[in-house]
């Protein structure tokens, strides 16, 4: 398999989901989560995030497009954030929608993910 530089991921062939196109991480280390971060999308999400694991510069997760997320999706993100933090590498959030904050609060993952507490 061809090795790619992290952050220069190309779209997998055969995928025509529009939401996945928007996910292309820019070299700046901003990764845009797709609209659906559910179990159905959890494997590609895992693959995408895996490539960002060892990136030295802080990675920013942009959730501006996120519309739906479930426990499986949260679990993948949690594993990612935890592993990066463990390696002393930062993960920042941008545009976290109420959906995400609410999910994090319900699952008790807010602190682990480094998400701000939602205002009630």
């Amino acid at each position: 398999m061809k090795k790619r530089k992290p952050g220069t991921r190309s779209r997998p062939t055969g995928s025509t989901r529009p939401s996945r196109a928007a996910r292309k991480p820019r070299s700046s280390g901003v990764f845009t989560l797709s609209a659906e971060c559910t179990i159905a999308e959890s494997a590609p999400l895992q693959a995408d995030l895996s490539r960002l694991l060892d990136k030295e510069a802080p990675v920013t997760l942009d959730a501006k497009e996120l519309q739906r997320i479930d426990t499986a999706g949260m679990q993948v993100i949690a594993a990612f954030v935890r592993e990066r933090n463990a390696g002393g590498r930062q993960v920042q959030w941008r545009n976290a929608p109420p959906t995400l904050l609410c999910a994090a609060r319900l699952l008790g993952l807010g602190a682990l993910l480094g998400l701000p507490q939602p205002t009630p």
Binding site: A43, D70, T71, M74, N85, R105, L106, L107, L112
Partner: protein, 714 residues
């Protein structure tokens, strides 16, 4: 709409029994001290699926028992407890009890409640007595991969999103602690914890503490599996029932513990509440300081690695159980198919016979077509027969447990070797060979293998070996039970036989004849009767069962070296190799296995004995002559013994000469049950339809011998 669940009961029982078999096998393979993770998972899955099924069908006793079992297994699975010998015994006993419970429920009989509750108590006791090496809710005590620098520690530390102390408005309500640990396949079953937590949050003030310790590193994570667990605190005017309802659909897919941690009567200082909350949360943070001290290099992949194959194997296993590429078919359907194929064979034989009488070019083509039909029919017949074939492992699988238990009870060290487990034989044969094999294996363990001290004194390894082997031999299957024990003591057998007047004081017997003695009813040389064997029932039953299957049993033994019992069985009971013989206008089939040889008699070798009818000399023995035409009241073609032929046949250890007009040929015949179509006739084991469409009876030689001796006695 309500669904009638009873229609699924049979499948549930069948699957549960099979699952218990595999659980038992896995338990036996489990090494004390260093158990294989995958084996524990297999065992756990069985308990789990039986629990789920029995809960669904309302078999609450089974569900409750399996719950305790599952709890213990989960402790094993998570590494909180170690497999010990008493535990392995307890788990094996649980398999027995579960089997008994399932059987009782299946037969709608009352359960042995005492036995169940005793064992359940033992299980709970064992769980309660586990060494306090880990907090109740923490998973494997491996340093979690999260252990590392400060930000990480902070990140994983459980966080009460809403501190319980904040929930002032819940003052007059209850407080519930809910420990919720979904199984890995939770997502795959269509469940989402978030949905449940949301519903809970609607019931009252919810405080959530996540346990992410089991969450593997990203690369090892199977995103379709749930690795998170939660401790929840719900406060407010909430009863238990609505909480249970939230988890209703997840029952059996998670570990769930709902308990009331106390209501908060008005006026109780908030500090107490906060303390209680802190207690509740204590379990997880307690690990953190220790884990956090683990230096960065320790955050290698090592601690996670063992979990990875397990995680990967799990969904596969659950998928394979759904999609193993096999279907369950009732035996009746297969028998029906078999019957139809039998008819087809007969029709084909009829056509063949008809075709052979025709002439001309068209007849030639017809014969070619018939030859093709014959080939296809034979293939079809073989395929259908194969459907009925099952690997002998179905019978062998019961022995590891049996040998283990017996050896333990008798204080012997025994290794059981199984080979040729994949050898297939007909289901009917398989069902009937089980008991004889049990007798033989018990005998080997009890009488064959010596105690370790005796063995060492005799220069043998302390571990005795009992070997079960199965293989195809020609058209038959040979099943062998051998051991490297003390072998049979010929002198003792002879002495015993003489003492019981089974043989005369001066009779000289060949080895073979001596070995035959042990198959006599009530014969045992065991010095003392144990509850294992030695009562003298058994070997004669073994031989009778084997004979009923159309097989035979041989014994080879050497003093001090061991014994070998070799059982030869036909592959199937549906088809028999037969010799067709003519008596008058009738044709009879004599099973080839019963025939010793066929011969023409000389007048000189025949004599008449008063009271015993005609006998003839055969290799130094006098065998009675049974004239089949007399037995069946037929007008024969050959009246004098010299005109016809004698078929020397053997049954029940006795030989006779069957007098027939002529031998017609050997062929495989499809057995049709006479009992099912007509009724039992002594001396006839079944019928078959010949190529010309006529019916031929298949002779049951032991039956004929019995019938003839009755006539002679009358």
């Amino acid at each position: 709409m309500t669904i009638d669940l009873t229609q699924f009961h049979d499948a549930f029982f069948e699957e549960s029994f099979e699952a218990l078999d595999s659980m038992e096998a896995a338990l036996l393979k489990l090494d004390i001290g260093a158990p294989d993770k995958e084996l524990i998972n297999t065992i756990f899955r069985v308990a789990h699926s039986i629990k789920g099924g029995s809960a669904t069908f309302g078999f609450s006793e089974i569900a409750s028992f399996t719950h305790s079992l599952e709890t213990l297994l989960d402790e094993l699975r998570s590494g909180n407890m170690q497999v010990t010998l008493p535990m392995s015994d307890l788990l094996l006993k649980s398999v027995d009890v579960l089997r008994a419970m399932l059987r009782a429920v299946q037969a709608k009989q009352p359960l042995d409640a005492q036995r169940v509750s005793d064992l359940q108590f033992d299980l709970e006791l064992m769980i309660a007595q586990k060494p306090a090496l880990a907090p109740a809710f923490a998973p494997a005590p491996v340093p979690a991969p999260v252990a590392a620098p400060a930000p990480a520690t902070e990140a994983v530390a459980p966080v009460a999103v809403t501190a319980p102390a904040d929930g002032v408005e819940a003052a007059a309500g209850n407080r519930w602690q809910i420990r919720f640990r979904p199984f890995r396949e939770f997502f795959a079953r269509g469940n989402d914890p978030m949905r449940m937590l949301r519903e809970l949050a609607e019931l009252g003030e919810l405080s959530v503490t996540v346990d992410a310790d089991s969450l593997p590193q990203l690369a090892q994570l199977n995103p379709q599996e749930c690795h998170l667990a939660w401790v929840l605190e719900l406060s407010g005017a909430v009863a238990e029932e609505p909480i249970k309802q939230v988890f209703e659909w997840a029952e059996g897919d998670c570990e769930l513990e709902i308990r009331q941690v106390g209501g908060r009567p008005a006026g109780v200082p908030e500090a107490i509440l906060a303390d209680a909350a802190a207690d509740a949360l204590l379990s997880v943070p307690a690990v953190e300081p220790a884990a956090a001290t683990v230096a960065e290099p320790a955050r290698s992949e090592a601690p996670v690695a063992p979990a990875a194959p397990v995680a990967a194997a799990k969904p596969e296993a659950s998928v394979s159980s759904l999609d193993s590429g096999s279907i369950r078919v009732s035996v009746e359907k297969i028998d029906e198919l078999m019957n139809t194929v039998g008819e087809l064979v007969i029709t084909q034989a009829m056509l063949n016979q008809l075709g052979s009488t025709l002439d001309g070019p068209t007849a030639e083509k017809l014969r070619a077509g018939l030859a093709q039909l014959e080939r296809n029919t034979r293939e079809l017949q073989e395929s259908v027969m194969r459907v009925r074939m099952l690997p002998i492992t179905f019978v062998f699988s019961r022995f590891p447990r049996m040998v283990r238990d017996l050896a333990q009870r008798l204080g012997k060290q025994i290794e059981l070797k199984l080979t040729g487990e994949q050898t297939e034989l007909d289901k009917t044969v398989l069902e009937k060979i089980g008991d004889p094999l049990v007798h033989l294996v018990r005998n080997s363990v009890d009488h064959g293998i010596e105690t370790p001290e005796t063995r060492i004194a005799a220069g043998k390894p302390a571990f005795g070996t009992v070997h079960l082997d199965a293989c195809h031999r020609g058209g038959n299957i040979a099943v062998e039970v051998s051991d490297d024990g003390q072998g049979l003591d010929k002198d003792r057998i002879l002495a015993k036989a003489r003492a019981r007047n089974l043989i005369g004081p001066n009779d000289q017997l060949t080895d073979e004849q001596i070995h035959d003695l042990i198959f006599l009813p009530g014969f045992s040389t065991a010095e003392k009767t144990t509850d294992v064997s030695g009562r003298g029932v058994g070997m004669d039953v073994v031989r009778r069962n084997v004979k009923e299957l159309g097989g035979k049993i041989e014994l080879r033994t050497e003093r001090g070296k061991g014994s070998r019992f070799i059982i030869t069985l036909p592959l199937t009971l549906a088809i028999v190799d037969g010799q067709s013989v003519a008596v008058g206008t009738e044709t009879y089939i004599v099973p080839l296995i019963s025939i010793v040889e066929s011969m023409q008699l000389k007048t000189s070798s025949v004599s008449r004995l008063s009271g015993r009818g005609e006998v003839f000399s055969f290799r130094g023995d006098y065998l009675p002559i049974i004239r089949l035409h007399e037995l069946y009241g037929i007008e024969p073609r050959a009246h004098s013994l010299q005109e016809g032929l004698i078929v020397v046949a053997e049954g029940d250890g006795r030989r006779v000469g069957l007098f027939v007009d002529d031998l017609l040929g050997q062929q495989q015949v499809v057995i049709k049950s006479l009992e099912a179509n007509y009724g039992h006739v002594e001396g006839v084991s079944g019928a078959t339809i010949l190529g010309d469409g006529s019916v031929a009876l298949i002779l049951d030689v032991p039956g004929i011998i019995r019938a003839a001796s009755l006539r002679a006695a009358a």
